[in-house]
Symmetry: D2
Subunit: 140 residues, 4 copies
């Protein structure tokens, strides 16, 4: 595990994720960040599907990617994710994508929790904030 | 206009639609078929968004693509579409994709109209069936 | 294992694969078919990346999908794949996608093997044809 | 035209670009930024396809999106783009996406020009740097 992270998810680059430059298309990294985010939350109660079933949606407010080395078809990647800055309706995820020892990309996304019906900001459920803080507390 | 068709929509191949073979990824053609289908329906009242607002959804039951020549980044394509076989809750679209004089792909999709709430088959609204039959009647 | 199949690959539906109908977008099934096809071939020598390194490309000539039940976010799916009809430069894959006991979709794709440089048909390498025939011979 | 911009490209939200939240998926905005970038460059000689034909590739080094209001299926959007910070092998694009009077998203991407063969940094061709500077000089 990378220092500062307590969670990672693995994926293999799909052929459909490449483009005519022969490398992964730049938009795909946001899809991978989302996969890591959802897998991260899946450890707590019913995860993101559970939040949605509870009538809560998480919106993405901002996203940032730094592309450091091209990823290619069939690459085995590890996407590290950590969550922090939990404040009221807001939270933030940070990511690092590794291929072996090499960092392929890093980035972050900022989110708000909203009521799924009215799309109005609502607090992150207490149980989830607690679970995230506990999980992150174990990071070296 | 191609014989047998009364409608076509134009598009330019996006870089994100290519893959590491340097050509358009095979799944993208279904996205283009859908664009042509939606543009086709847009001519009648409020089109597909209108159908959805009326609580009607169109499901895709089957899809078929024949890839005849690779499409590439920045290609200008014309997607011909025609609708037929309107029977109760069912209808079918046929497509031909051209680049200049060359056929790049053809195919068809089969659909069912359902109630958006219960997802149970419902009849294609009479005004839409009528409008489609009138439009197609002008095909040479 | 489903009767008639000797291979399957598992995947979890990504949030980015859904559309505003709340179900998986119809084009995504072709992406899944490709994932199964690549995983299928990965068992033999260096698989599809190895074929590409050898200067051989596999083109998709035709694709067919039958959508039988909507797939949704976070569904755990099993994509069965088998390969047959190996003749000269041509081969064909068949697929069934299951969620638990339910068939979500089935379909097939037809392919041709080409020289990557000239994109001219070339024979499927003998070692690969042999490996596929041996693998499929074990199907019940 | 928005103050500070001399270029914009229009697009209509595709159904395949939405997700199960009923809005456009967050990764799609990077696809739209790229479309605007390519359309922007298309005004100068042979544009991005011409650069690629000349053996020059533009890599994306960094991307940032700020999501300000959800975009939905069939929305008519205008993507404003401007290019600046041309220095050696580097350049930067800024974007604003509007729906009528409302800003849906903004963001920026940073790029490097590389030799397509060796993927080593190379200078932005003089004619292109000149053309971009001239175009941007007309911005109010």
């Amino acid at each position: 595990m990378r220092p500062g992270f307590t969670f990672a998810t693995d994926l293999t680059v799909r052929f459909s994720e490449t483009d005519a430059q022969g490398v992964v298309h730049n938009a795909v990294y946001l899809v991978w960040f989302e996969i890591a985010r959802i897998d991260y939350l899946a450890r707590f109660r019913d995860g993101y599907p559970g939040l949605r079933a509870d009538g809560i949606e998480a919106l993405t407010l901002e996203a940032h990617v730094r592309y450091r080395a091209p990823a290619r078809f069939d690459d085995r990647l590890r996407v590290y994710a950590r969550c922090g800055d939990l404040r009221g309706a807001r939270f933030r995820f940070e990511y690092e994508i590794e291929r072996g020892d090499e960092i392929v990309a890093d980035g972050w996304t900022a989110h708000a929790v909203v009521d799924a019906e009215l799309l109005r900001p609502t607090r992150l459920p207490e149980w989830l904030g607690e679970a995230i803080r506990n999980a992150e507390a174990t990071a070296r």
